[in-house]
């Protein structure tokens, strides 16, 4: 930066040295992004198609190109690696199926309630709901572990209703398996017992999230609903009171108004929240890492954690990179889908999206920019 100050502008014209200055101004950001983001991704791609074993540089001449071998090992070749990946995908799939709808509904509920015009103490409520979103995942996981032990606060509360709570974070029972066992089904029958997609039997696929994973689902909802509440709140505030009044005059009932007016008006935000939730919950890593990742019979492992574990613990660098790339591609597809949907559905209302919120002359850009659970603002 010293360069930019030291060199006096040429007297020539106002636009004189602009090209050079432009590049000097963006140089630090571009360099950091290129060296620590673009090049590393290319390097990791090479690792995913090589037999690098972690010794020396992945670029040394003794490392061989092995094509799609690493990808095959986790997806089509029968074995432990394929099974681990399959289980991780299943775990994450159930996580997404529960987290995304629940966090959206709860965030919307919170926003609608907090937005009430006559509500006293709304600042307090907003703070209460948003605070978990700014705290570190490490701290939240500790709090949740404490709450959800066998003799912990949660079991004490539900115990008051006569329910015998489980040892949450150590219970590997799938909740659908648990439900089936109450009607006497504890064993798979027929085709369900055969290994299926990704080497996992149909019986294992329908297990549902384990009790341990359910605790993490609650944790995710707890930490993200505040962020999404703010997005909904912003959108609700942009619906003018005229529309409220008009619907009142037209005699629309409260339920009718909510479903026929509020929800359609919120549609762009709803899309944003759903897709952001989808993108974020396929990236869940921090919580799993803090909990050790292999506890509860492997039922809390996710592809993101498995990518880390394969590389750094099992030293299967190629497979770890391959998992990361599959996840990468999948999330990019989701992101493109989001952008396409937002552009397609509501060209005029695009700015209710979190990133787009700064587009039309605001003075203060929003803070809630990266609501990825557990990693707010930390991603590039």
């Amino acid at each position: 930066m010293a360069l930019a100050t030291a060199r006096p502008r040429r007297r020539g014209g106002i636009r004189g040295g602009e090209a050079r200055e432009g590049w000097i101004f963006i140089a630090p950001a571009v360099l950091i992004t290129a060296v620590f983001l673009v090049i590393p991704i290319l390097l990791a791609f090479w690792v995913s198609v090589s037999d690098w074993n972690g010794f020396q540089s992945p670029l040394n001449p003794r490392v061989n190109f092995v094509g799609l071998e690493n990808y095959a090992a986790i997806t089509v070749d029968t074995g432990l690696d394929q099974k681990n990946f399959g289980i991780a995908v299943r775990n994450n799939l159930y996580y997404v199926l529960f987290v995304v709808p629940l966090q959206t509904i709860i965030a919307l509920l919170l926003a609608v309630q907090v937005n009430r015009a006559v509500l006293r103490g709304r600042g307090f409520f907003r703070t209460a709901f948003y605070f978990p979103s700014v705290t570190s995942t490490v701290a939240i996981v500790i709090v949740f572990q404490f709450l959800f032990t066998a003799s912990g606060a949660v079991n004490a509360v539900i115990g008051a209703f006569g329910i015998d709570g489980p040892d949450w974070f150590n219970d590997s029972t799938g909740i659908i398996h648990g439900l089936l066992s109450t009607v006497g089904i504890t064993q798979p029958a027929g085709a369900l017992a055969e290994p299926g997609f990704l080497g996992i039997s149909g019986w294992e696929w329908i297990a549902g999230p384990s009790v341990a994973m359910s605790s993490l689902i609650m944790l995710a909802i707890f930490t993200t609903s505040g962020t999404f509440m703010l997005l909904f709140l912003a959108a609700l505030q942009s619906i003018g009171s005229e529309i409220d009044e008009a619907s009142l005059m037209d005699g629309a009932g409260p339920a009718r108004k909510f479903f026929s007016i509020t929800i359609p008006m919120l549609r762009p935000t709803l899309f944003t929240v759903l897709t952001l939730g989808l993108i974020g919950s396929w990236q869940v890593f921090d919580q799993i890492y803090i909990l050790g990742g292999t506890s509860a019979g492997g039922t809390i492992s996710t592809p993101a954690f498995l990518a880390y574990r394969s590389s750094f613990v099992d030293l299967e660098w190629g497979q770890g990179a391959a998992i990361a790339f599959i996840l990468f591609m999948f999330i990019i597809v989701l992101t493109l889908l989001q952008r396409w949907l937002l552009a397609e559905r509501s060209p005029r209302l695009r700015r209710s999206g979190k990133r787009a919120a700064g587009q039309s002359g605001p003075v203060e850009p929003p803070v809630a920019v990266t609501p990825t659970p557990g990693n707010p603002g930390g991603t590039p």
């Binding site: 602009e18 432009g22 991704i41 690792v47 609608v112 709901f129 570190s136 996840l327 203060e364 707010p376």
Partner: protein, 298 residues
């Protein structure tokens, strides 16, 4: 659930002074609404309160009486251990230093780049901006292994440099700043530049002061983001001396899963590591939570 909760909403008129005239149905609605909100707020706040309480309990009491708000025997043992056996001050020092440098770096580099992309005309500008937009969608979690690889190649693995430099700029920060500069009028700067001020001088003395709202936003995001960062510090270091609060406190958790009798220690660590972010949050509370609303009015 949603329907019943919604029910009272429209009945309550917008003008506060007319509240007196509300009918019985509306009043029940309001009451119901408050009850729901207070119930939810309790669910959101109570975990934090009993965690703070439990950090002052003995190990046995924390395990047996998790719900109790007031410890039978108040003990500072957990905190003493954090500053005795556990190198908590070292972790806090590392985190403070790294977050400070990362925050300053991000605010400076991202605003510089955002300004150039918004105001300066140069070849390749559109391409660079498009590239930043593309990079916004790169999921952070898939960068763990790639980052480790490059840090090793560059000999930065397990150094402060390797922990800090990759975080010094983010595409999201550049994007926020560029959008902001696009939204403020160019006339003031034009005047300064006609008067002969250099581009950097214009940026430093005229543009940055005007950009305060966006800079504060970026400051909050960067500080909170780097204070809470975990993934990058897992893959960029291994020495215990380089532990940050996140990696250090996480190491208190893993390995002792289910043992249950370390809770006061873990909770004390969680409480202490949350304080700076909480302070920042309460100072900038209005800005953090109102800006999304403010942006809509634009």
């Amino acid at each position: 659930m949603t329907v019943t909760v919604e029910a009272p909403k429209q009945v309550a008129p917008r003008l506060p002074k007319r509240r007196r005239t509300l009918g019985g149905r509306a009043r029940t609605g309001m009451l119901l609404s408050y009850l729901i909100l207070i119930g939810l707020a309790l669910i959101y706040i109570y975990p934090f309160i009993i965690s703070i309480a439990a950090s002052f309990k003995t190990d046995a009491e924390a395990t047996q009486d998790a719900l109790g708000l007031i410890p039978e025997t108040v003990t500072f043992a957990a905190y003493e251990r954090l500053f005795g056996d556990v190198p908590f001050p070292l972790w806090a020092g590392n985190t403070l230093m790294i977050s400070t440098i990362v925050t300053i770096g991000r605010v400076f580099f991202d605003s510089l780049a955002g300004y150039a992309l918004s105001r300066l005309k140069f070849r390749g500008r559109a391409f660079v901006f498009a590239a930043f937009i593309g990079i916004l969608s790169v999921p952070g979690v898939v960068l763990l292994l790639p980052r480790f690889l490059i840090l090793q190649q560059l000999g930065l693995y397990d150094t402060y440099g390797g922990m800090i430099i990759p975080l010094l700029s983010t595409a999201a920060g550049v994007f926020i700043m560029k959008q902001f500069f696009d939204s403020i009028p160019v006339s003031v700067e034009e005047a300064a530049r006609i008067d002969g001020a250099s581009t950097f001088r214009t940026y430093w003395t005229i543009v940055l002061p005007m950009a305060r709202p966006a800079l504060v936003t970026l400051f909050i995001l960067s500080f909170q983001g780097s204070w809470n960062e975990l993934g990058h510090f897992i893959v960029s270091r291994q020495s215990p001396e380089l532990n940050t609060l996140t990696t250090g406190v996480a190491s208190l958790v893993s390995g002792q899963l289910g043992s249950g009798n370390q809770f006061p220690l873990q909770l004390a660590a969680a409480v202490l590591m949350t304080i700076p972010v909480a302070v920042l949050f309460f100072i900038f509370q209005r800005r953090i939570m109102n800006t999304t609303g403010g942006a809509e009015k634009g």
